[in-house]
Amino acid sequence: MRSVVIALVSSVVVVAALAVAVVTSPGWESVRSSFFDLDVAISAFPSVIAGLWVNIQVLFVAAAAVAVFGTGLAVLRSLRGPVFFPLRALAAGYTDLFRGMPLLIVLYLVGFGIPALGFFGRVPVVLWGTIAIVLTYSAYVAEVLRAGMEAVHPSQRVAARSLGLTHGQTLRIVVIPQGVRNVVPALMNDFVSMQKDVGLISVLGAVDAVRAAQIEVANTYNFTPYIVAGLLFVAMSLPMIRLTDWVSARLTRRQQNGGVV
């Protein structure tokens, strides 16, 4: 009880001090009117939230694609034996390349480069944006999954193969499910990170929340729509952030309790 009071009081003091510092700053009046204008916020809200719906759609399509593609890459990287060297090397090269390259550059290359090849007809830019996000995030997720799969004790594979399961069945039924469980918090963290990175597709001209805010800013000469879009992104990610914390805490508790053996 005492500690709660102390935490509360110290929080109030800190927040109040910060608020006073900001409000009494010499430029506060102009900042307030150009970033925190309620009327502009209200008028921008409908188009920004419509844009956010685009982000949400991209997010879920990309997450599903990353799950499939990332798992495939992780499996390729975990193949043993000299026969699979080319596949292993290809997968390793892929993850090196796309973990190193900034997402923004992948977006430009995919969004402007591939259409310029002229193979495809008119493809919506949202789709190119989604593909770029999938390419980059699959590399991250593949590495996380690979670490999770490698943490599954080899005796689990031996037990599965001893029952007569094939290599593929062993991966599918025994190794991947346990590997995913090992890295759930890290995977959820990647998902949270992806929730805001879907806003980057605006650079290709897709009218998402960020782009919609930009248009409103251009119309009103006021930056408030960016604050609206920013808060909406935070609101979108909060449930997942809380869920990640909860799951991590639960896993930690379980591990610290230990089992019967």
Partner: protein, 247 residues
């Protein structure tokens, strides 16, 4: 025809010869117990039989099939052999019943309902039926090992390999696992087991095989090997085992 025949089996890891030419024949319904010091090659021998390790030389016949033939499908061979491990190796993310019926469903393509019914019947005889829906970490070590044995025998394998199956258990849990092995012998299973439980080996074995530095040094009935060992190494090993058990 023998259940299992090994001729001149050799295996080396790096520059270490683990198996230096092992010959062994096991008849159907026979219980053969491997004894020997740690590092004598017992576990490796068991692992070569279910093709977890490939032999460098020699042949292994399982019920007349040369399973060391490079053209053989190792998954098919393994599906004919039941294996139980020192550390149980149950799948922690699958419920007891799904652990037990996995091979029946996915390898032997039995109807899931039939596999479940047979699994529940076996669990019932062991007094573990109420654990069927639990995850393995909710069970004691002895219970887990008995579940692992049920998993190995559900599909009626022609050979059972038991690798130090009581070594990881608390002493008071060893009995319930050994009871189950006695039961398997009564039902006529063909068993090759490695163990340090000398009293149990004497009781349950039809034949004792003593391994030393990758070779079979001596074999015979429990009376012959335990009471009148021919080879000095055997006598020395039994002496050490006896002392370490405080016998």
């Amino acid at each position: 025809m023998s259940a299992l025949t090994l001729t001149g089996v050799r295996k080396r890891f790096g520059d270490h010869d683990v198996l230096r030419g092992v010959d062994l024949v096991i008849e159907p319904h026979e219980v053969v117990v491997l004894i020997g010091a740690s590092g004598s090659g017992k576990s490796t021998l068991l692992r070569t039989i279910n093709l977890i390790e490939r032999v460098d030389d020699g042949q292994i016949f399982l019920g007349g099939t040369d399973i060391t033939d490079p053209g053989i499908n190792p998954d098919r061979v393994r599906s004919r052999i039941g294996v139980v491990f020192q550390h149980f190796n149950l799948f922690p993310h699958l419920r007891v019943i799904d652990n037990i019926t996995l091979a029946a469903r996915r390898v032997h393509r039995q109807r899931p309902a039939a596999a479940r019914a047979r699994a529940l019947e076996l669990l019932e005889t062991l007094g573990l039926a109420q654990k069927a829906r639990e995850f393995p970490d909710r069970l004691s070590g002895g219970q887990q090992q008995r579940v692992a044995i049920v998993r190995a025998i559900l599909t009626d394998p022609e050979l059972l390999l038991l690798d130090e199956i009581t070594s990881a258990l608390d002493p008071q849990l060893v009995g319930e696992v050994l009871d189950l092995v006695r039961d398997l012998k009564r039902r006529g299973s063909t068993i090759l087991m490695a163990t340090h439980e000398m009293a149990f080996a004497r009781e349950v074995a039809d034949r004792i095989v003593f391994m030393h530095e990758g070779r079979i040094l001596e074999q015979g009935t429990p009376e012959q090997v335990f009471d009148a060992p021919v080879h000095p190494e055997t006598a020395a090993f039994l002496e050490r085992e006896g002392r370490s058990r405080g016998a």
